[in-house]
Each structure stands twice: as structure tokens, then as C-alpha cells.
């Protein structure tokens, strides 16, 4: 008996849709095993993890709040990955955007006007894009692998943020806590409901819809697709690989920076050493789970947001470490990449050696 991977004559569009569903199923099953090994009842643990967050308005709201940055960053990364540009450093660009946008509330705290908020949003996107352009420049100028540089820049950005909130931007009236002044008035995003739901989700959905249109209908989307999948044909079409790297990092970095600013001007309301539960890394999973399609990213972003709230849920109710979230997210990415093999290949059981098999069918 032998298990063979056989190449399909063409990519299966059915598996392209089913691969993420299969991956989710495998993640749930393996998650159940994990709970069982930890001595928790698997079914009720899974219920607490995946279903419970959707049973109360409070937690649904919390899921939406978490989905916002995931969708915003995920759409940018989807464009990037589609073009075969590997920005792994969205977390760093998120941090850079938050830092840049916070210039207004921290240094010009007295400037209270709607325009101030707009400037903050613009600065956030600008900061993320600028930080994203560092790996773009290193790649196009020196041929340095962008996976390494973008990832390493994450730690630089996080340490910069850490230094800033403990040093120059520390709130003088903050009892020496490492945090900036609290943002106030027009330095905070409009909210509704009980004040957790904010304008960020609207920005995220708008970004996803715009990028969906760009990818689906416009020449730019065509360019991204061609340069990513057939670079030589891209050159033949007159599309520049170099410009594409800049474009991708500018867009994905900009959206990540915007997400960072929205976090500090939304749910957090100030700068502090930790402003993101790894949204920038989780968004990589979101992009792949969403099939690198901005509409898919919206769905995937909601699902991954559930995994955060579910992680908090099992921590509270079953006393399991909140690292569970990361385990689930890791398993999900692992299974997606694994199941994606089935888009180009099919599994085949073969009894014995293929040659003998051939002889038997010939006789």
C-alpha cells in the first residue's frame, strides 16, 4: 500500500474553495485532541472556543472590533502575496503607523479639530507605508530577501515604541507607567454602541471592497496577478517588477500603519508598549485563508477574530493558557498550506508497486 500525490492536469477550482474549509475542519479536530490531552472535555471546550463568542452581543461586538485590523492588514497582504511579494513585517508597519499618527495627540494635544483626526489617519498610513518601503528599497537596490528584512524590522519598530513610551513620550502625569498621554476628543475615533465599536471597521470594509474592485476589474489588478504568477510575461507586458515591489509594500504597509493608528486612536486610546496581539502576523493567516481575495479576507478576518475571543474564553472558563490562540492560529495556517497542495495534486491510494500494478491491468 502506498499513498501517492499525483499532479492534476489543471488546478482544481473546487479544491481552491474547499481547501480552507477542510483546513478549518482539521484544525477543529486537532484542537479537540489538544483539549483532550490537556484533560479538558473536548466538545465543550470547542464550544467555548468557537461558538460561545457568537452567543452574546457583547462578544460579537468584541469579535468585530478585533476583525477590523485583521481585515485591514489582511487585504493589503493579500495584494502583496498575490504579486509574489512577501511582506511578513505588517506588525512592524502597524507599530510605525501608530507611532507616526500619535505625533498629533502627543505633540499637538491642544489641536482639537476633525481635521486633526484626518491628519492622524493620513500620518498613520504614511508611517506604515514609509516603514514598509525600507524592505522594498533593500530588495530592489541590493536584492535582499524581503521576508528577512521585513520580519527583522518588526522588532526594531516594537523596540522603538517601547523606548518612546518609556522615554520622550512618557505621560508626565502617568505615575511613571510606560504609556503616553491619553488621547482625547478629536484624537479618538467616533464610536457607537457602548463605546467599543468604532469607525475602524468601516475603514477596513471600505479598504477591502476597494481593493476587491482593483484586483478584479482594473489593469492594476491584472498587473499584480501577472507579475506575481508569470514574471517574464509581466516584463513582456511592460510591467515593472521593481515598481511592483514598491507598490505592494506601500499599500500593505500603509494599510497596516492605518490599522495601527486605528488601534491606538480607538480601543486603546494611547500609546503603550504593546498595542497589538500580533494582528500583523495573524493577518498573514487571514490573507491565505481568504484565498488572497479581499472579499474572502473579510470572512477570514471574522473567523480569526473569533479565535482571539475564544482563546480568552477558554482561559477564563477552563483555566487554559491564552497561548491556545496562537496554537489554533498556527495549526490553521499549517493545515491551509497543507490542504492547498490538493489544489494542484490529488491523493491516490496505490496497492503495491506501480509497475506491477501496470502489469496486472495489462494481463
Amino acid at each position: 500500500m502506498q499513498l501517492l500525490l499525483e499532479k492534476r492536469s489543471q488546478a482544481s477550482s473546487l479544491m481552491n474553495l474547499f481547501s480552507p474549509l477542510l483546513a478549518i475542519l482539521l484544525t477543529v479536530v486537532m484542537g479537540g485532541f489538544m483539549f483532550a490531552i490537556m484533560g479538558k472535555p473536548p466538545l465543550s471546550a470547542l464550544y467555548i472556543y468557537f461558538i460561545d463568542p457568537l452567543t452574546s452581543w457583547w462578544s460579537i461586538e468584541e469579535v468585530l472590533v478585533k476583525a477590523g485590523p485583521l481585515i485591514l492588514i489582511g487585504t493589503g497582504l493579500a495584494v502583496c502575496f498575490k504579486a509574489n511579494v512577501w511582506n511578513i513585517g505588517a506588525e512592524g508597519q502597524l507599530t510605525a503607523g501608530a507611532l507616526m499618527g500619535a505625533i498629533i495627540p502627543v505633540l499637538w494635544g491642544e489641536w482639537q479639530s476633525p481635521l486633526g483626526l484626518v491628519v492622524m489617519l493620513v500620518l498613520g498610513a504614511f508611517g506604515g507605508a514609509l516603514f514598509g518601503l525600507i524592505p522594498a528599497w533593500l530588495k530592489t537596490r541590493f536584492g535582499v530577501n524581503e521576508i528577512l528584512t521585513s520580519l527583522m524590522l518588526v522588532y526594531i519598530a516594537q523596540l522603538l515604541l517601547d523606548w518612546v513610551v518609556r522615554g520622550p513620550w512618557k505621560d508626565p502625569d502617568g505615575y511613571n507607567f510606560p504609556k503616553s498621554v491619553s488621547f482625547e476628543g478629536w484624537h479618538l475615533l467616533p464610536t457607537w454602541g457602548d463605546g467599543r465599536m468604532h469607525f475602524g471597521l468601516v475603514v477596513a470594509l471600505a479598504a477591502a471592497l476597494i481593493l476587491f474592485w482593483v484586483m478584479r476589474r482594473t489593469l492594476k489588478g491584472f498587473e499584480i496577478n501577472v507579475v506575481g504568477s508569470a514574471p517574464r510575461a509581466g516584463a513582456f507586458a511592460g510591467f515593472s517588477q521593481t515598481k511592483m515591489v514598491w507598490f505592494c509594500f506601500a499599500v500593505s504597509g500603509g494599510l497596516a500603519g492605518l490599522a495601527g493608528l486605528i488601534e491606538v486612536a480607538g480601543p486603546i486610546g494611547q500609546l503603550q508598549p504593546h498595542i497589538s496581539p500580533n494582528y500583523g502576523f495573524t493577518a498573514i493567516i487571514v490573507a491565505f485563508l481568504g484565498r488572497l481575495n479581499p472579499l474572502g479576507v473579510i470572512v477570514a478576518g471574522l473567523l480569526l477574530a473569533v479565535s482571539y475571543i475564544g482563546g480568552e474564553g477558554v482561559q477564563i472558563e477552563l483555566g487554559i493558557s491564552d497561548k491556545t490562540t496562537q496554537v489554533f492560529q498556527g495549526m490553521l495556517l499549517f493545515f491551509i498550506l497543507m490542504c492547498d497542495t490538493l489544489i494542484l495534486y490529488r491523493l491516490k491510494w496505490i496497492s503495491g508497486n506501480p509497475i506491477q500494478h501496470g502489469k496486472r491491468s495489462a494481463s
Binding site: 510575461a233 511592460g238 509497475i355 501496470g358 495489462a362
Partner: protein
């Protein structure tokens, strides 16, 4: 090797019975039978995609048959791997060589030999054997410095060192000059005399008639005929291969040529690839109504020349290119298209077209910037003009006989010939003033080749300037008004097609026109 006196009593050296190979639902080989005898050159004939390579890969153990059996010297065997095949005494020279350019000849050979044969003075044995068989090789030379013909010799010597009883050669002359091919034939005749068998894969009928004693003809994976090539004519063989008689290209006399539309003067270009070819002092002119063909063995700088003319490669280091009277230095491929130029690259898949994209998207690929129709295909934020694209796709499909299952299918689902007709048609549909085509009918069936060649001639007779880069001399003589020859990055002066013989072109392909600069450069 083998004792040739008792070969009559022995069974066939290699026999294949009812062998089939299925890829998905597609039969690449459908119950084929073949028997190869010692002391003969056996031809395996067929068009691209007929299943020749699949069949020999199974004989060489690189693929496993779906069903059927292989007999080696009368005994049934299952050839599990190429190493197993070599152990049995089957050697194969592939069409695409697998050599390390940065290593020497003897290092390359040593890498591929089993440890037993690596012992002793390998370099000396290589030198002796290659000399003995008329395949002169310097064991210490770096592969990067060798011509394609010499590289092929390495592969042959590598096989011969293992003293094969059967040598399989996959289109060996596709990359050789006529003179190099003659030398190869002499070697093959000598091998056969010693009792070795050769399975010779080709679609060049003249050379099959010249050296083969048996011929098996495949079409669409099926065995069509077993014939004696000495009795058949090239025309009857072609008919068996293609399945119908081949359409002749009709060629009106040129109505005279006009202005110079494409000119290159004193152009130099260092290759951007580690082992690419540097272009040296290229000069050429193509006039309106003229077809200029550049002959030459593949890999002598043709690809580099194409990308400099098209603008895919950034600007030439020195010298300049003029299209329709305008100097093009620094212009990208789309700006050159807008001047009225059109380009067809050598590789259909991955360069001229993207396989997973639909035909309409593939039209967009080369026409999004300069469409030469009243409204642009690119409407910015409003998106791409899909309606116009599908209209264009329809017209190109009809005008260039692109056969497809639906109007708008993926490029991958077209056969090689149909895709080439589409790619050529996409450019010709613009009625370009200048058309540059690299290998216009490479790997294309005869019917499609005839259509493409006819379209090229018709376009030139309407006043376009056409530059063809080809390694197929038949094609060149069929199409060209004028011919220049490229070797090692240098281009000969232009000759009128009527003034050149094949032998003269062959000598130039081997480098007789090259200037001293090359010697000092190398």
C-alpha cells in the same frame, strides 16, 4: 561491445509490447509496440506532442508505464529508474543538457558516472574515447566556454563511457549546425558498426532518411506505421507524421522595399545573466516590405537580441536602436509598441502568454497600452473594457484559425500550435509596422506553421518590416528576403537569401564571420 556475428539468432535488443502511459485522462502513449535491433539506427518520428519523449522516458526508466511490458534481450524487465536503465546498458542523450556550467568537462562526466567507472585516470579515458569516436573534447575545459555542439559531445561521451548497448538520442541535431550534424552522423554510423543500437528521435525527415534503417511513426500517442525510411520519400514520411499533406506557403514576389523601419547600429550589450551571451557590435536594417531572418544555433545571443529590441531588457550599453525613424534608447516595451512595433517571443507559455489566464486576458497582456483601436482597453478606475477584449478575441480566433473548445478558454488548454497562432495573431491583428518574431514556428504542427508563415509573408507584402529569429533553415529559406547569421553574440552582414547556400550559412553559424574582438574577449 557486442559480438555482431550472432546477432541474427538473438531476439530484439529491446522490445516494447502494448505499452501505454496515461496522464490524468490523457493517453500520451496508447498501446505502442516497438522493437529495436542491434546494429541499426531506429528512427522514432512524430510531431511535437506525438508521444515520442514519453515513450523513450519509459524505456529509460524516467517514467513508469501505466500498462504494457518491456523486454530487454528477450527477458521481461521493469526499468525502475534511469540508473537501472544504465545498468542494463541503455544510455540516453537528452535534448536539454544537464551540465554544470561552472565545472569542467571531466568533472561533469565524473558526477554522472557510477563509482566503479570513476576510478583511474578519467580525464585520459575521456580524451581517448572522444578522440577515438571523432568527438574531440578537452577534459579540462569549462562547460560555460563550450558551444552547444561540444556540450552535446560531453553527454554522448558520458554515455559511451558506460559502454551502452542502446543509445537513445532525443532530437540531437536540433541544436547543431549542419556541419556538426554531419560529424554526429559519422559517430553514430561507427557505433552501429560496432553492434550498438541507436534509437533516434527526430522530426527532421532528411536526416532520418540519411542515417536510419528502421522508422516508427507516432501520431497523437498512437503507432501509425513502421516503415523503411530508405524506401519512403520525405513527403510520404511527412504525410504519415502529420496525417494529411502539408499546405504549401505561397509567396508573392516582394513588391519592392521602402523606408528603413527598424535599424540597429553598433549596439553592444553585456548579458545580465551569469552565463548569458554578450551582444557585440550588432548592425542591421529592416526595410518596409522586407523579411530579414537571423539564422543561428539557439543560445548564441538571439534571446538577448530579442529582449534588447523589444525593450524588455533595459537599454543597450552602447549603440542605438531606431524604430520607425525614432531612436528608442530608454523606451520601454509599451512605448516601442506605440511606435508601431510588435513582438512575439520564443516561449509561448510564461513569456508570450500566461497559461492560467484566459485568452482575453492574454490579449490584454500585450495590448493594454497600445491597442491601435479608437478606445483604450484600460479605462482606469472603471476597469478594463471586457467587451472590446472578447470582440478582439473572436476576431483573432477567426482570422488565425485558433481552435478552442469555447470562445474564451485558458491559454493552457490550447495546443502548442493553436496557442502560437493566437500569440502571433494577437500581434498581427494590430497591423504593426514592425514585427519581431523569435522562433515563429518552434514546436508547432505543420498546419499551424504554414498558416503562421503565410501570415508573416502577407503582412510584409502590405509594407511592414519583419525581423525573424529562427534556427530552422527550412523556415528561413521559405520566408526570408534577406538573411544574417548570429553566432556567439555577433551578427554577420546581411545577405540576399538567393545568394546563400545552406553550407555557407552552416559555416557562419559555426562562427566563420566572427571578428577578432571575440577572440580577445574570450
Amino acid at each position: 561491445m557486442l559480438d555482431k556475428n550472432n546477432k541474427k539468432e538473438q531476439p530484439a535488443l529491446l522490445q516494447v509490447k502494448n505499452i501505454s502511459k496515461k496522464f490524468g485522462d490523457f493517453y500520451a502513449n496508447d498501446s505502442l509496440n516497438l522493437s529495436i535491433e542491434m546494429g541499426k539506427v531506429h528512427a522514432l518520428l512524430g510531431e511535437n506532442g506525438a508521444g515520442k519523449s514519453t515513450l523513450v522516458k519509459m524505456m529509460y526508466g524516467a517514467l513508469q508505464p501505466t500498462s504494457g511490458s518491456i523486454f530487454w534481450q528477450g527477458k521481461e524487465v521493469s526499468i525502475a529508474s534511469p540508473a537501472h536503465a544504465r545498468e542494463l546498458g541503455i544510455g540516453m542523450v537528452f535534448q536539454h543538457f544537464s551540465l554544470f556550467e561552472a565545472l569542467s568537462v571531466s568533472e561533469n562526466i565524473s558526477l554522472a558516472l557510477p563509482p566503479v567507472l570513476r576510478k583511474g585516470d578519467l580525464s585520459q579515458r575521456i580524451a581517448d574515447l572522444s578522440h577515438d569516436y571523432g568527438l574531440p573534447l578537452n577534459p579540462a575545459a569549462l562547460v560555460a566556454d563550450l558551444s552547444v555542439g561540444e556540450r552535446q559531445r560531453i553527454e554522448i561521451v558520458r554515455c559511451l563511457l558506460q559502454e551502452p548497448k542502446l543509445l537513445i538520442m532525443d532530437e540531437p541535431t536540433a541544436v547543431l549546425t549542419p556541419q556538426e550534424a554531419q560529424a554526429l552522423f559519422a559517430t553514430l554510423r561507427r557505433l552501429v558498426k560496432e553492434g550498438c543500437a541507436v534509437l533516434y528521435i527526430s522530426h527532421r525527415l532528411e536526416e532520418v532518411k540519411c542515417i536510419c534503417q528502421d522508422a516508427t511513426i507516432l501520431r497523437h500517442g498512437k503507432l501509425i506505421a513502421e516503415v523503411d525510411p530508405q524506401i519512403e520519400t520525405a513527403a510520404t514520411l511527412a504525410k504519415l507524421m502529420v496525417g494529411s499533406s502539408v499546405h504549401e506557403v505561397s509567396r508573392m514576389a516582394s513588391s519592392g522595399t521602402g523606408d528603413v523601419l527598424l535599424s540597429i547600429t553598433k549596439m553592444h550589450q553585456a548579458s545580465s545573466l551569469p552565463f548569458g551571451i554578450d551582444l557585440l557590435d550588432i548592425n542591421l536594417q529592416v526595410k518596409s516590405g522586407e523579411i530579414l531572418a537571423i539564422a543561428g544555433v539557439a543560445g548564441n545571443g538571439q534571446g538577448e537580441l530579442f529582449s534588447v529590441i523589444s525593450g524588455e531588457q533595459s537599454n543597450a550599453d552602447r549603440g542605438s536602436i531606431t524604430l520607425v525613424g525614432q531612436t528608442c534608447d530608454g523606451l520601454g516595451i509599451n512605448q516601442r509598441r506605440c511606435l508601431g512595433a510588435a513582438f512575439v517571443p520564443e516561449e509561448r507559455i510564461g513569456h508570450g502568454a500566461v497559461e492560467h489566464l484566459n485568452l482575453t486576458d492574454n490579449i490584454l497582456l500585450s495590448r493594454h497600452a497600445c491597442n491601435d483601436t479608437p478606445s483604450s482597453l484600460n479605462r482606469g478606475w472603471l476597469g478594463i473594457d471586457r467587451e472590446q477584449l472578447s470582440q478582439l478575441n473572436k476576431v483573432i480566433g477567426i482570422d488565425y484559425d485558433v481552435r478552442k473548445s469555447q470562445e474564451d478558454v485558458t491559454a493552457a488548454s490550447l495546443s502548442g500550435g493553436n496557442l502560437q497562432k493566437f500569440v502571433v495573431g494577437r500581434e498581427m491583428n494590430r497591423k504593426p509596422k514592425i514585427l519581431v518574431i523569435n522562433q515563429p514556428t518552434w514546436g508547432v504542427d505543420a498546419g499551424a506553421a504554414a498558416l503562421i508563415r503565410q501570415a508573416v509573408i502577407d503582412l510584409s507584402r502590405q509594407g511592414s518590416a519583419i525581423l525573424i529569429i529562427s534556427q530552422d533553415l527550412d523556415e528561413i529559406f521559405e520566408l526570408a528576403d534577406n538573411i544574417a547569421v548570429m553566432s556567439r553574440g555577433q551578427l554577420s552582414t546581411t545577405y540576399s537569401a538567393g545568394d546563400l547556400s545552406r553550407e555557407e550559412i552552416g559555416l557562419m553559424m559555426a562562427g566563420s564571420h566572427e571578428q577578432a574582438t571575440q577572440e580577445t574577449g574570450a
